[in-house]
Symmetry: C2
Subunit: 460 residues, 2 copies
């Protein structure tokens, strides 16, 4: 039987799509990558994934794993050579187990982040990972991307939240590493290879994730600060006072609030006028929100934060968060921008912004810098609007990237904090990591996927 | 020049020891492994480490890296073939940087855990890793072992506390991964390979470690519980009330307290009579110890913990901790025991103890089971005294291990939670991990250390 004949035979059992039906799986969320696929397979079990991988290995057909198709770097989109298949995990949606005594949840790869959060909540536990695509992104993709989000400051990335994995390897063999242990020093920690590998080393089919005690109290504030340096001081001062209750600490620049004002005029914005910088702070704890809110308000007052708005209700807190979370959409409405997802040592953020902004404004007349991000973990989304707000601006992307990444390198920072490499930053990675590092990565790739079946043209 | 001629030329610069001077480096801490070495080299820089590795690679001489020589599995002791050299990191003791804004510390491999804790404290930060050997163990060894300890429940193992590494590879090349970033998704996370690899993949020369806000309040209690199941309930109930303020939660069985009473009669023991089980609880937070202590006392009282001793002073808290920390020494004084460092899903601990104890007592007449450990992270130290309290008892070790590890496997647990594999569990690892896992590990070893120079006869 040929490859396509076998797929056709599996059409119903493995839910295989052909032709026009594959289209939604071949365009990335940012609409930058239009790929083509021989077919899209939607297995409903680990065993079906193994069957598909074995078939592809036999015929040397490449495989692009896809979760919620929310990659911001084209990591889940097939190349446009039409020589690969997409394996979508959308039918592997089982929550296998919530173990409240062990504080773990076991799920199949296609469960969405929001579903994991909900299942944890039902057991009075917290699954702390959270970001904008929570409703649509899937755990398999989140793990493959080592996704981050707004609570990394306190709880870590997906890597730190993972205890065990089940992975289909390149020969179709199954690595059963679905352990729920917090300490396990029996040889090399193989799961670490797959987390963050963007589907290039294996296909994650199940995971055991950490749960945490459920905070019952929240306090949220929007606080104007003089400068990014003042924001760093506020973060460390606040932590000295309330420790790890600081779960989010988001930096927002004036151009972000301007964009929100312009495109979402009904979103309540407390500041009048808009300050050069502000931070969105979230504390969480057990006990009572009113007490925690008072404590935050008192701290801000005592430390001279004169323009601080402390949310007085969950609704107001949600409004503050809506501001933060609407920034990417306000940007999108405004036009095409050149985006960067960078990270820096936290103390270097102020200096970076000062120096990079200066060179950017002198190099690209009329540039508007939209900077915001997770200051608490050193992650900045550093985006640029130039005169051309169409896709034509991408012609300038290499020059803009070069400038930004030079400054990132000067502080030993990262060109991809939480979005990964995918197709978008594949070329840039060659400069960002040393030859030795790239060589080591290629060696690992060759060891685990000698035929290069898994997600070719991504990362390396 | 021959290998030994070159070493002799480096005798002063690289602080090379020969003959009888190598003895202290050739015996492990538990005195179970007596090895022999061609020489012991004590480089004082990364460059000297590279020179030594290049020389060894050229002459195909094996290298055993050694930190504080506190391995409990013989991981840092050379084999007795006398064909390897030991590289000791004891002269690489520089604290390179404490970055309070970034909450990171950068240290050379030979810095002790206690020195890292001290340097963090001086910057009003916490380095949370802690265990009995803090004064003598070195960071390089702690990383290579992925060591755990008493605060893993709240802060994770050494792996989770590591942001960046500098590693000398098997060809003497230097991997410069000394980044201090909390988010960095630029390809495979290479540092994960070296953490927990017990010196078999590379030599860690420097590390960037995470620091945390410094807790100022502590509350400590010794609480009698009816059973391990009651201990798990208390842990989850307490976390629901005070969240992640629970930083340690240690389970202690009656035989431990008996041993302490017998061998350290002056150590104050509050319980009269000794209960079947008790837990040592530590909470930490910002603010004031008195308030936190009251809160803990009130919780224990309200939840029917009638035999609970809440420390009323730092001295009393230290006494409680001394009890816990003296258990291994009391055991040692009592004689030779057969030890296990296992981990289980936390909810499975009570069932495991019940079933494994029952079979142990029926299989080995007169066995005394000394069980204690970090219940909060599922890690038990499950030790056995049999009639023979000399090293002769090791003849029964395989049979005892077989029994224990069968029960561990039944709960998908781990045969080495925090001590690693080393020489001690090398044979056992073959049964504890699947053929596929062992194959993957061997592939990684062959990729990164093709000549097998690094720590042969350990782990794999």
């Amino acid at each position: 039987m040929t490859f396509l004949e076998q797929l056709n035979e599996w059409r119903t059992s493995h839910s295989i799509l052909f032709g026009a039906d594959t289209a939604p799986y071949c365009l990335d969320q940012r609409r930058r990558y239009q790929g083509r696929a021989l077919a899209v397979a939607r297995p409903n079990s680990t065993e079906q994934v193994q069957q598909l991988v074995r078939l592809c290995a036999e015929h040397q057909i490449a495989i692009v794993p896809q979760g919620g198709n929310t990659s911001l770097c084209g990591a889940a989109t097939p190349l446009n050579d039409g020589q690969s298949i997409v394996i979508s995990f959308e039918r592997m949606t089982q929550i296998v187990q919530v173990d409240a005594d062990n504080n773990t949840i076991t799920v199949q790869a296609g469960v969405t982040l929001a579903q994991v959060q909900q299942a944890a909540l039902a057991a009075k536990r917290l699954f702390p990972a959270n970001w904008a695509a929570a409703q649509s992104c899937q755990i398999g993709g989140a793990l493959a991307t080592n996704a981050g989000g707004v609570n990394v400051l306190r709880y870590g990335n997906m890597r730190e939240l993972t205890l065990g994995l089940e992975v289909v390897l390149a020969d179709g063999e199954l690595w059963e590493g679905l352990r729920g242990l917090r300490k396990d020093n029996t040889g090399y920690d193989l799961k670490q290879l797959f987390v963050g590998s963007e589907g290039t080393l294996g296909l994650i089919t199940q995971a055991v994730l950490r749960l945490y005690p459920l905070p019952t109290a929240h306090a949220t504030a929007l606080v104007a600060v003089e400068s990014p340096a003042a924001a760093v001081d506020l973060l460390r001062g606040l932590q000295a006072e309330v420790g790890d209750r600081v779960t989010s600490f988001e930096l927002i620049s004036a151009p972000c609030l301007d964009l929100l004002h312009q495109h979402f005029p009904r979103l309540p914005q407390p500041f009048q006028p808009i300050p050069a910088w502000c931070v969105l702070i979230e504390l969480s704890d057990g006990g009572d929100s009113a007490l925690l809110t008072d404590r935050l308000a008192e701290y801000l007052y005592a430390h001279g934060c004169m323009e601080a708005y402390v949310a007085q209700s969950p609704t107001e807190a949600a409004d503050f968060w809506r501001l933060r979370e609407s920034i990417p959409e306000a940007q999108r409405i405004d036009g095409v921008s050149i985006k960067h997802d960078i990270s820096l040592p936290i103390g270097a953020v102020p200096d970076f912004l000062q120096k990079c902004d200066t060179e950017m404004l002198s190099s690209f007349a009329g540039a508007r810098i939209v900077a915001f991000g997770h200051l608490g973990d050193g992650n900045l989304h550093y985006n640029l609007f130039l005169a051309d707000k169409t896709a034509g601006v991408y012609a300038l992307e290499p020059a803009v990237n070069d400038l930004v990444y030079r400054h990132v390198a000067a502080y030993n920072g990262s060109i991809s904090a939480e979005h990964g490499i995918g197709q978008l930053k594949r070329a840039t990675l060659q400069d960002a990591r040393s030859d030795l590092e790239l060589h080591m990565m290629r060696q690992i790739k060759a060891t685990l996927d000698p035929l290069g079946l898994f997600n070719p043209g991504k990362v390396l």
